[in-house]
Symmetry: C2
Subunit: 443 residues, 2 copies
C-alpha cells in the first residue's frame, strides 16, 4: 500500500458532507486496502464554519472560501454538495476549467445543466461523477452505465424519492390524511421544511431525466416530463387500492417505444401509481428506494436501498471518489461516458403523450347522493369505450352531501378517459373534479 494519495476538497458541509467526512474517517483503512492509496480530504468549504457537526475535522482546512478550495492546486477532486442551481453550476464549471474532477449529488443541477457540464468536462478531460444523485446509496447509475450496458433498456420503474415513499407508506399504515402525515414526516426529519420538490414529484423527475438519458440515449428536457405529485391522495385511495390488490407508490416510469416505421419515442412520467401488491416494488416501504430496470437481454432486474440520508448518500459519494481517484492514477479519465452513451449518440427523442397511454385506471367521482348517478357515469364512460371492472360506492359524506364513487376500469386509452372525465365533470350531479390514478400492471 502507500503512495501519496489523491487530494480532495469538499464544498458544502451539510448532512451529506458530514457523512462523507465520517465515511472517509471510519473506513479509510478499508478504502486504502481496496485502492492501494489513500483518499486525502484536504479542505472543506461551507458558509457556516461555526456549527459543530459532531465530526472530527482535524488535519483539514475548513473555511468559507469555496473558490479558493476549487483553485487549490493540491485539490484534484472537488465534491460539490451545496445543492441548488446557480452557485453549484458556477462552482462546478470553475472546477472543471481548473482541470479538477467533480463528484456531485446534485440531480437538479445535472437535470437542467447536465449537457453544459458534461461537455465542459469532456473538453477538459476530467470526470464528473454523480452516483449519489439518483437512488442515494444504491449503485444504480453504475449499474445502468456499465452493469447493464449490453442491453437495450426497455423500461424503468423507480421509487426514487424517500420522502414521498415514507408519506405514502404512513398514509396506508395509519389511514391518516396527507397533511397529518407530512407534518409528522417533517418532525421526524423525513421531509424538509419546504417539501414541495419531493411531494410534487420534481425531485423524482430530475432523477428520471438522468436515467432516461442513460437508459435510452434520449436527451429529454426536464420540463417536458409529465410530473404529478402525491398531494391529492386521500385515505380512501389506499383503502380502495388494497381492496383491488394494489399499493400506491410515486413512480418514475420510462419506456422505449418503437413505432412501425422504426422511429423511437420515449415514454417518461412521474405520478402516483397503483401497482400489484405482490410485486417487489410494492414491498418497498418507508424512506427506501428501488429501481426496476428491464433490459432486452437481462430481463427484469431490481436495485433496492436507502435513497437518501447522511451515510447512504455518502456511501455513493465516496464510491465515486474512489473511481475518480483510480482514473486519475491510471490517466483514464473519461473512460466511461457519464450518461452511458457517447455525447454524440445522445439525441432528442419525442415523448409519448399521456393521452396515448393504455392501461387500467382508478377513478374517484364525487357525485350527489341521488339514484341513477352511477348509471349516468357508466353511460358516459361506455360512450368513450371505457368499460368498468369494479365499482365501490362509499358512504355519503355528511359535510358535502356527496358520495365518492370509486371505479376501476378495464384497460383503456388515457385520451378517451380524459374526454369522458371532461364531460362527467360538467354534469350537475358531479360535485368535484374526478380524480384519476394510473395503474401499472407489468413491472
Amino acid at each position: 500500500m502507500g503512495g501519496s494519495g489523491v487530494g480532495i476538497g469538499l464544498v458544502g458541509l451539510g448532512t451529506i458532507g458530514t457523512g462523507v467526512v465520517k465515511v472517509l474517517r471510519r473506513n479509510g483503512a478499508v478504502i486504502e486496502q481496496r485502492l492501494g492509496f489513500p483518499l486525502r480530504l484536504l479542505r472543506i468549504a461551507d458558509l457556516d464554519t461555526g456549527r459543530d457537526r459532531g465530526v472530527d475535522l482535524s488535519g483539514m482546512r475548513f473555511d468559507s472560501d469555496a473558490e479558493a478550495l476549487v483553485d487549490d492546486p493540491e485539490v484534484q477532486i472537488v465534491i460539490e454538495l451545496i445543492g441548488g442551481y446557480d452557485v453549484a453550476r458556477r462552482l462546478t464549471l470553475r472546477a472543471i476549467e481548473r482541470g479538477k474532477h467533480v463528484v456531485t449529488a446534485n440531480k437538479a443541477l445535472l437535470a437542467l445543466h447536465g449537457k453544459e457540464i458534461f461537455d465542459a468536462a469532456a473538453r477538459r478531460g476530467v470526470d464528473v461523477a454523480f452516483e449519489a444523485s439518483v437512488g442515494g446509496g444504491i449503485p444504480i447509475l453504475r449499474s445502468m452505465r456499465e452493469g447493464l450496458a449490453a442491453n437495450r433498456i426497455q423500461s424503468l420503474h423507480g421509487i426514487m424519492n424517500g420522502t414521498t415513499n415514507y408519506v405514502l407508506t404512513e398514509m396506508e399504515r395509519t389511514g391518516e390524511a396527507f397533511e397529518v402525515v407530512v407534518k409528522r414526516a417533517q418532525e421526524l426529519g423525513y421531509a424538509e421544511a419546504d417539501p414541495s420538490f419531493d411531494l410534487d414529484g420534481i425531485d423524482a423527475a430530475h432523477k428520471l431525466t438522468l436515467l432516461v438519458a442513460m437508459a435510452f440515449g434520449a436527451d429529454l428536457t426536464f420540463k417536458d416530463i409529465p410530473t404529478e405529485g402525491i398531494r391529492g391522495l386521500t385515505p380512501l385511495d389506499f383503502e380502495a387500492a388494497a381492496r383491488f390488490g394494489y399499493r400506491i407508490k410515486l413512480l418514475a416510469i420510462a419506456k422505449e417505444h418503437e413505432d412501425e416505421g422504426g422511429a423511437e419515442r420515449i415514454e417518461a412520467r412521474v405520478h402516483p401509481t397503483m401497482i400489484p401488491a405482490e410485486s417487489l416494488l410494492a414491498k418497498v416501504d418507508g424512506a427506501m428506494n428501488a429501481i426496476a430496470v428491464h433490459g432486452d437481454a437481462v430481463g427484469p432486474t431490481l436495485f433496492y436501498g436507502a435513497g437518501a440520508g447522511e451515510l447512504p448518500t455518502a456511501s455513493a459519494v465516496v464510491a465515486d471518489l474512489m473511481e475518480v481517484a483510480r482514473e486519475i492514477r491510471r490517466g483514464s479519465a473519461g473512460r466511461v461516458s457519464p450518461l452511458s452513451y457517447l455525447p454524440e449518440a445522445l439525441t432528442a427523442k419525442p415523448l409519448v403523450p399521456l393521452g396515448d397511454l393504455h392501461g387500467r385506471c382508478y377513478l374517484v367521482f364525487s357525485a350527489a347522493d341521488r339514484p341513477g348517478v352511477l348509471g349516468q357515469l357508466a353511460s358516459v364512460l361506455g360512450e368513450h369505450q371505457i368499460s368498468i371492472e369494479s365499482v365501490i360506492q362509499q358512504r355519503r359524506d355528511e359535510a358535502s352531501g356527496s358520495v365518492p364513487i370509486v371505479v376501476l376500469t378495464h384497460p383503456a386509452r388515457e385520451r378517451a378517459v380524459r374526454e369522458a372525465l371532461a364531460r362527467i365533470d360538467h354534469m350537475p350531479e358531479v360535485t368535484a373534479p374526478t380524480r384519476l390514478i394510473r395503474i401499472e400492471e407489468e413491472l
Copy 2:
C-alpha cells in the same frame, strides 16, 4: 464513432456462448454508441462444430481449436465458457500468459483456482472479468467492487442458485415431493441432467467464496464453507414454514464478526433457511436470484434479477467485454482489483463454527406415536437451555407408524441444539434422525 474495434475470441458455444453471439449481434449498435468502437467477435472454438445453434456465425471463424484461438494475435479478449476445472484452468492461464484478457462465467474455476489465475493476470497486466459467474445478469460483483466500495460490508444473504430456488418455489406452490419437482424442473430445462452441484449447494458455495473475498477481504477455502443442499426438504416443511410466517430459501450467508480483541472472524454458510415471509428476499421466486448486502454506510441493499439463462448471463459477459475493451483502449488494465481488495490485503480469516451460531431453529422429530414422547423431547431440549416457541404435532404416518413433531425454538446456540439432538436421536421412541432448518430473522 468508429475505430477498428477490439478483437474477441469465444471458447465454448453452449447456451451462454450462443447468448453472447446473439447479444453482440442484436445490440451491436447500442454497444458501439456507448463504447465509441465496436466489439469484434472474430472467432469461436467448440468441440462440437456441427450442431446448429440457431445463431448467425457469418464473418466469424468457427472451429474446434481453442488453443489456436487463444494464440491468435487478433484476439485481445478470450471469453472462457467451457466450464469445469482442468481444461478451463489451462486455457485461462495460457490466455493470460499470451497477454490476453479473459472474461469468464466459471465460478467453480475461480472459487478453486482464483488466486493462481488472478496472480498470473496481475503479473501479466491483463484483466480477468467474471461478472457472469455470480448472480447471472445481476451486476452484483461490480456493485460490491465499486458501487459499495466505501463500505465495510457487514452481511450478505443471497439466493444465488436459480435451480434450487425454482424447486423450492414449486414445492411450496404445489405441495409435491422433492423428487417430483426436480424431475419436472429437468424436463422444463430449469435443472440439468445431473443437478447435484445445484441441489447440494455446491454452486452457491462457489459463488459465496468469491463474494466473501470481495466483501470482507477474506481468503476462504471453498471446501471450508459449511454447505447443505435442499434434498432433505419435505412438503411438511413448507406447510409448517407458512404457519410460522416463514418461507424456505437456499441462502448463501456471510457476515463479519469482530471479537472483543478486534480479531475478525467470518461467518459463511450455505443451507436451506427459513426467512420472514414479508422480507424482500422471501418474494424472490422461481429461477430468479437476489443478493441482499448490508454495508455500514449504505445500510440494507438488494440486487435482484435472473441468475441464469442464455441472455441474462450473456448480458453480464458482454458488460465485462465492454469494460475490458475500455481498459484496453485506455491502457488501464488492472485499474480495479478483481476481488475488490488488493491481493496483498486479502487474508485468511478464521471461520465461525456452525456451533457458535445463535438463532431460532425449526426441528422435525420423527417419533413413535406414544403418549409422553413430546414431553420427553421437551425435557431434553430444556436441559440444554433450549426453549420451545411453538409445536405442531402432525397426523400419524400410517406406513411408518411414527408421527412427525415440528418444533420452533426460541433463539438458541446451535452447539446446544446439536447436543440435544444427538441425545434425542438415540432415544428408542425416535424413529429417524431429527431434521434442523436454521431460521434467519434479520435480512
